[in-house]
């Protein structure tokens, strides 16, 4: 199946947006999962360091210069496709952080344990909320950072708040 049939990107389609292991180990970096030629480019304008490029007119696909990107997350809430994630694999102890756009209520609180979901919507395991950004500048697209087992970093793309105990 291709992503045109079920909406799920194949691993090879994501490879191009993932930096080398060495770069990942150096700290947070933007992972853009936007593979189609759509008329859109606000990510390019959002990155003040000029790390995101789209070749040709705005119908090209974005790519990140991983040496320039420092994972500042400015692009995350600027993307109407909600297709940009920031992954930090530069942490000790076998954990990584994934930051993702989260336009749902209620917002989780720091310290909450949540159920992590993959691109397919499948349950991966658990994560812990580390930070919740929802300033006015983010214009109602809050950014939630959660810590997950390091080997889940490239798979966690959403989460479910755990049902509060009945």
């Amino acid at each position: 199946m291709s992503h045109r049939q079920d909406g799920i990107l194949e691993p090879r389609q994501i490879d191009a947006s993932v930096p080398a292991t060495e770069r990942l180990g150096r700290g947070p970096v933007a992972i853009i999962e936007c593979v189609e030629n759509i008329p859109c480019n606000p990510c390019v304008d959002a990155c003040q360091k000029g790390a995101i490029r789209i070749e040709g007119d705005m119908n090209g696909t974005p790519s990140v210069d991983f040496d320039i990107c420092d994972g500042c997350m400015l692009c995350v809430s600027a993307c109407p496709g909600l297709a940009i994630f920031v992954v930090n694999k530069g942490l000790p102890g076998g954990v990584a952080e994934v930051s993702l756009p989260y336009e749902y209520t209620p917002l989780p609180s720091v310290g909450d344990t949540v159920v992590t979901l993959s691109r397919e919507g499948a349950v991966l395991g658990e994560g812990t909320i580390q930070r919740v950004l929802s300033s006015k500048a983010l214009d109602r697209t809050p950014i939630v950072t959660l810590s997950v087992p390091a080997d889940h970093a490239m798979d966690v793309r959403h989460f479910l708040a755990k049902e509060p105990p009945a």
Binding site: D6, G7, E36, I38, T105
Partner: protein, 485 residues
Amino acid sequence: MRIRQHPILEFEKGPLIEFEHDGRKLTGHEGESIAAALHAAGVRVLRHSIRLDRPRGFFCAIGRCSSCLMTVDGVPNVMTCVTPLKAGMRIETQTGKGIIPDVRFTHPPADPDYPRDLGNVPLAIVGAGPAGLSAAIAAGRLGVECVVIDENAVPGGQLIKQTHMFFGSKEHHARVRGIDIGEILLKEIEDLPVSVITGTTVLGLYADRVLALLRNDRFHRLTSDSIILATGASENMLAFPNSDLPGVYGAGAVQTLMNVDGVAPGKRVLMIGAGNIGLIVSYQLLQAGVEVAAVVEGLPEIGGYHVHAAKVVRAGVPILTSHTILRALGTEHVEGAVISQIDPQWCPIEGTEVELDVDTICLAVGLTPNCELGSQLGCEEAFVAELGGRVSIHGAGLATTVEGVYIAGDASGIEEASTAMLEGRLAGLSAAGRLLPDLDRNELARLKKEASEGLRTLRAGPFGEHARAGKRKMLELAGVRGGDS
């Protein structure tokens, strides 16, 4: 079923008031539509059909389809999806054609600001969506006095229910939410010689560009030197057994109910159609706290952008391509749906049926341009599948075959708000060029070129293929029949 918490919207509601439904006291908010108030109170059946006595709910929620007719204060056939709720209203489920009460109908009192004859305006624009408002801005900036007329209580067209961020580029308000783009356009109009008349329907257009308007149950006449038709589009229906049950709603109706009225359409929804609209509305349902059982698409591929699909898939909603709905289940309203896989000839594959437990079925199966006003004026038309149906033939400058009449936005072919804004601008410029003979032609040509180039870029990618093909056909037809430049 009111939405209590929403990540994007805050619902400003009128005071809580009492009204009567079939003899029962209910409460709702003053000013919301009767249908929304009833839905919030759990009432989905609004009337019974004339011949077969089938239950009916609303379908379009924009006053077009007549599915929601009820008897209000003794008057039958009131469109409850667009009629505001007032305290003490007596609302009854209507059966059959209803009985017209034996009283003299009285006009509401005349409004001194709106005499019967509204005189003449250089440019009349029908529709205050992104196309109409952009046309007014472009023409207004060049000094053309315009009147924009829209049937809704608030201007903005489709934008008023679009909570998601838009695509495109900076120049097209990319990353701004649809709801906020409407505000931006209205703000731009403030300093221009443009007036917007809301709550007013253009019922007809007559020779010499005369407009017949209906406002608060009173007729008005407006004449104009030029007209831009920016009337948008209507939603398509899909036929399947029980598709008339209350709970089968158009995607635009679902958007209106949840994003304008703040009422959830149901608890669990089946979405039909994986184009951008089906995908976006599914996402908006999830944001409103409504479950989406699946998105079903007959074609073997998703029609919308992958980034829209990814948002719903990662939230656990399956997108089932090469699938269709076989029937809705239920007697008074939707209680379930049966879907199945289909073969390339769209025939259901036996043994693949699945029954889904849903209370709402949302149809996002395409839009058809609203071209009636152009037809009435005698604009030549053509059926162009790539543009969504019959449209008035128009040239690159958006002139129709009738002198002084232009068309823009979804009415000229189904596309997006970003293209609608640029088409509106182009139509506004064309109209200004005709109305103001002293206008600097070089400057006008430059402005028109800028808008045309914007359109070309927006349509350049693979998702713009339909629009490119459709507009190419239009240009050929306009060349033969004399649209314009």
